[in-house]
Amino acid sequence: MLAILDYKAGNQTSVRRAFDHLGIECRITAEPEVLLAAQGVIFPGVGAAGQAMRQLAATGMDAVLRRLVRENRPLLGVCLGCQILVEASEENDTKTLGVFPGVCKRLPSELEDEDGQPIRIPHMGWNSLDFRQDCPLFAGIKDHSEFYFVHSYYVHTDPGLVLAVARHGLEFCAAYGRDGLWAVQFHPEKSGRVGLQLLRNFADYCALRSGHA
């Protein structure tokens, strides 16, 4: 079973619906023992970093997340969940979880897109990924496939951790991580067939790791 970490993130139900559609058992939960017993955990998120960190602290979920990482359990951060796994965010000048090195920065509004037009923020819509490393998450997904993004901040982390990049005025990290501890800036639960494939890949990886494949 997979677990979605419940801290009232806006997209947590969308993530569960996607797994339901795939026929993969999945629960939204804030119970530490359920999260720690799950084959893998999805850490969703929509909204602002400051509010999310307060919510995580108030519910004790920050400690659970750190323990999941310490015990090397499979974890997938999505969107804001991806952004607050690094050390700090410019959004609300927030100290974040620090599971990975790096910071989350605001997309600079003075940039231009490929057509010479000023970029729009939020970066909203379908954008293509350029894979930088092989990753079990990308199994069966072609390089340059498009995923749905909605965000105004992006993660700047150790280049060695970057799994895929996308371009919006600048090239930014769209997916990063290592060894089953992964984070994606886009919304796989809203990215059609390729997004569902990525979620299935995560579930398959988790099942394999726990010996239930």
Binding site: T13, S14, P122, M124, G125, N127, E146, H168
Partner: protein
């Protein structure tokens, strides 16, 4: 790179798909969930549902449609029509929509935009603007005025000023609907679309007037829109989403062609 989006707009009345508001008689043209699934499979980048149910008591039927859509399609969709409070927004977002679109209620009470952005994030708040061409005056320097009630009531508010105000209040996106072009199939109101696209830095959706693939291309190139709303040209099989995308792509607009 970021692709331009094509967004079919579905009008829903009493839980059924219907022809647009301006058509009298409201012909039932199908099941919104079935149609949404068809659009999802045909490569729509997003879908908009507009609730034109007259009575508030029937709101539950519409929310049920939203929930059924959320269980079956895995692309973003937004919901508009009858959103007048933060509680209304919460109801459709909880039912599974990514975004809510506020229109007349925001013109009458602009605090609704900032309240919505504070509660759910800017990315969830689309402001729909109905705009009508008029004579330029000191109050309406652009010659484009905000209207409500389907164009019957002019608000004495310049469309460009209103667009900037919506951005300042925390809207994450604007949907610019030309009352003059709507239903004509003669093309989007490109001057208006471009003026607003240039006045704000949030994404702009062009709406009203699509009649053929060239119009869609014009909206995203000349109009500088991030997305184009379509309705009748795709609802009745005149063009497929793929045809619209391939035409735009062949003429230099970045489009998502695989799904």
């Amino acid at each position: 790179m970021l692709k331009k989006r094509i967004i079919p707009c579905l009008d829903v009345r009493d839980g059924r798909l219907t022809k647009g508001v301006k058509f009298k008689g409201n012909v039932d043209i199908g099941d919104p969930v079935e149609t949404a699934r068809r659009y999802y499979e045909e490569g729509a980048d997003e879908i908009v549902f507009y609730d034109i149910t007259a009575s508030h008591e029937k709101r539950g039927i519409f929310l049920d449609v939203v929930e059924r859509v959320a269980a079956e399609i895995f692309i973003p969709f937004s919901v508009g029509g009858g959103i007048a409070s933060v509680a209304d927004m919460r109801a459709v977002l909880l039912a599974g929509a990514e975004k809510v679109s506020v229109n007349s209620a925001a013109v009458k009470n602009k605090g609704l935009i900032s309240q919505g952005a504070d509660a759910f994030g800017s990315q969830a708040i689309v402001v729909g603007m109905d705009v009508k061409r008029t004579t330029a005056t000191p109050e309406i320097p652009s010659g484009y005025e905000i209207v409500i009630h389907g164009g019957r009531t002019a608000m004495g508010l310049d469309a460009i000023d209103w667009a900037k105000e919506c951005e300042r209040l925390g809207a994450g996106e604007l949907c610019v609907n030309s009352i003059d072009a709507d239903g004509t199939k003669q093309g989007y109101e490109l001057t208006l679309t471009r003026m607003i696209s240039e006045a704000v830095r949030i994404p702009v959706i062009a709406s009203g007037g699509a009649g053929n693939p060239l119009h869609v291309l014009e909206a995203v190139v000349k109009g500088k829109a991030s997305a184009a709303l379509v309705a009748s040209i795709t609802h009745y099989g005149e063009y497929s989403i793929r045809e619209l995308k391939e035409y735009a792509h062949a003429h230099g607009a970045p489009m998502r062609l695989e799904w």
